[in-house]
C-alpha cells in the first residue's frame, strides 16, 4: 500500500476518477495529449535519484494541465518541496518510506513556497 503526502500531512487514497500513468521515460511530446485530460496524472519515479519526473511535471504545467498531478515512488522527504515547486499537487510514497520518514519530516517541507531561488529570479 501507499500513502499520499500533501502540505497538511499523510492521507489515504481519495481519488476515485480515472488515472493516467506516466512513466519516467515518457517522451515530453507525448504529454500534449494527456495535458487536456481530466484524469489524475500519476508520474512514476523508479527511485529518488531519477529526477526526470520533475521535468515532466514542469512541462505538463507549462502545457496548461490544470488537473491533479501526482508524483509516485520512493521519493524522500527533502524532495517534497522540489516536487511541489515542479508542479506536483501531491506525492505518493510506499508504506516503507512513510515508516522510515514519518509525517513530521514531510510537513517540515510544506513551506516549499519560501526560499525558492528560481522564483526570485523569475520575478
Amino acid at each position: 500500500m501507499s500513502v499520499i503526502v500533501r502540505d497538511d500531512g499523510f492521507h489515504a487514497e481519495d481519488w476515485a476518477g480515472p488515472v493516467v500513468e506516466i512513466a519516467a521515460d515518457t517522451a515530453p511530446d507525448v504529454l500534449v495529449a494527456v495535458a487536456q485530460s481530466g484524469a489524475l496524472l500519476r508520474v512514476g519515479f523508479a527511485n529518488f535519484g531519477d529526477g526526470r519526473g520533475f521535468t515532466l511535471a514542469r512541462r505538463l504545467r507549462a502545457q496548461g494541465f490544470a488537473g491533479r498531478l501526482r508524483a509516485a515512488g520512493p521519493l524522500v522527504a527533502d524532495q517534497y518541496a522540489m516536487a511541489r515547486r515542479s508542479g506536483f499537487d501531491e506525492v505518493e510514497i510506499p508504506d516503507a518510506i512513510a515508516v522510515r520518514q514519518p509525517e513530521p519530516q514531510w510537513i517540515a517541507r510544506a513551506n516549499w513556497r519560501e526560499n525558492t531561488y528560481q522564483q526570485r529570479l523569475r520575478g
Partner: protein, 322 residues
C-alpha cells in the same frame, strides 16, 4: 538542467555525466534540446533577474586604493633580509601603483600543504580587513591571496604573518607543492601524497637548493582522479597501487598556464622511498642543463624535451647510490 535531466544516462551511474551525453548524442542534438528548453523557460522570467545581477555587480566594485607613501617599504627592504625574501617571492605587482598582490604561503617546510589552523584563519581575516580592503582569496595553489595590499603596509603585514607562522617566503618555489589529501585522509586514494610533499620540501631546503632551482610547479595526486592536477605540473607525481604497494609515476613538462600541456610519462614508477631521490636526479639534471639561472625548469624542458631528464632519472648508477 531540464534538457540533461531528460537525456542523461540512467542505466549506469558512472556514465550519468553531461560529457557522456554530449559525446554519445552529439553536440548539435544536445544544443538544440537546450535551446528549445530555453525558449520554453524564457517566458517565465519577468526581467527582475537583471536587477538582481546589477545588485551583485555593485558588490564587486573595485575598492578605493589611494596612493600611499612607500617609505616604510623601502626602509624595511634595506634593513631586513627576511622581508626582502618575502617581498621578492610572495608579492607581485598590482595594477594600481604602490600596491601589491600578496601570496600567503600555507606551505611551511614540513607542514601539511594547504593547512591553516583556526587561529591562523582568524588572523588572516583580521589582516585582510586591516591591509587588503577586506578581501581574501583562496588560490588553487592551496595558498591565500591578499589582493590589495599597499606596499606601505607590507612590512607590518609581513611581521604579523611571520608571528602567526604564515611568513614562509616560498611562493612558486619547489616547496610550494600542490598535493591532494592522499591516502592519509581520502577513501579513493591509492597512495600517500602529503608525506611526499613534506619530504620534498624539507629535503630541498636542507640541500639549500630551493632558491637555486627557482620557479617550479610540482603537483602530487594520490590516485588517477588527479585532484592534485599532477598532469599539468612541471613535474607531476601520481601515486598508484601496484599489488598493494605504493608506486609513484612521474610526468614531466605539464603546464597549467596559457601554454597548457599535459605532462609526459617518464617510464616505470618509483617506490615510496625512491621518489624523493628520483625528483632530485631530475632537478640536478636541470641545474646542469640550464643555459643560465634565469632559464626555469619548464623553459629548459621545452628547449631540450624529456630525453635528458629521463636519462638522469633512470641512470642505474645514481639509483643504486640513492
Amino acid at each position: 538542467m531540464a534538457a540533461y535531466n531528460l537525456a542523461g544516462r540512467r542505466d549506469n551511474k558512472y556514465k550519468a555525466r553531461l560529457k557522456i551525453t554530449v559525446f554519445e548524442g552529439g553536440l548539435e542534438a544536445f544544443r538544440d534540446a537546450v535551446e528549445a528548453e530555453f525558449a520554453r523557460t524564457r517566458a517565465a522570467f519577468s526581467g527582475v533577474d537583471q536587477a538582481l545581477l546589477a545588485e551583485i555587480e555593485a558588490a564587486f566594485a573595485p575598492p578605493a586604493l589611494p596612493l600611499r607613501d612607500a617609505g616604510a617599504y623601502h626602509a624595511a627592504w634595506a634593513a631586513d633580509a627576511d622581508f626582502r625574501a618575502f617581498a621578492t617571492q610572495n608579492v607581485v605587482a598590482h595594477k594600481v601603483p604602490g600596491y601589491g598582490i600578496v601570496t600567503v604561503s600555507l606551505k611551511a617546510h614540513g607542514a601539511t600543504p594547504g593547512d591553516a589552523t583556526a587561529a591562523q584563519m582568524r588572523k588572516l581575516a583580521d589582516l585582510a580587513d586591516a591591509y587588503s580592503a577586506g578581501e581574501l582569496r583562496i588560490s588553487h595553489e592551496q595558498n591565500v591571496i591578499l589582493p590589495h595590499v599597499a606596499l606601505a603596509d607590507l612590512p607590518a603585514l609581513h611581521r604579523a604573518l611571520a608571528a602567526a607562522g604564515l611568513g614562509t617566503a616560498n611562493a612558486g618555489l619547489i616547496s610550494d607543492i600542490i598535493a591532494c589529501p592522499g591516502m592519509d585522509y581520502c577513501a579513493l586514494a591509492t597512495a600517500r601524497s602529503i608525506p611526499v610533499a613534506q619530504e620534498l620540501a624539507t629535503h630541498f631546503k636542507a640541500l639549500g637548493l630551493e632558491q637555486e632551482i627557482g620557479q617550479i610547479k610540482i603537483k602530487i595526486s594520490g590516485c588517477i582522479n588527479a585532484c592534485g592536477h599532477h598532469h599539468v605540473g612541471h613535474i607531476g607525481i601520481l601515486g598508484l597501487d601496484r599489488a598493494g604497494v605504493e608506486n609513484y609515476q612521474i610526468t614531466l613538462g605539464g603546464d597549467a598556464t596559457e601554454r597548457a600541456a599535459i605532462g609526459e610519462k617518464t617510464g616505470p614508477g618509483f617506490a615510496y622511498d625512491e621518489i624523493v631521490p628520483a625528483i632530485e636526479r631530475i632537478l640536478r639534471a636541470y641545474l646542469a642543463l640550464r643555459q643560465a639561472p634565469e632559464e626555469t625548469f619548464i623553459e629548459t624542458f621545452r628547449r631540450l624535451g624529456a630525453a635528458p631528464f629521463k636519462a638522469a632519472l633512470y641512470d642505474e648508477g645514481a639509483r643504486d647510490a640513492a
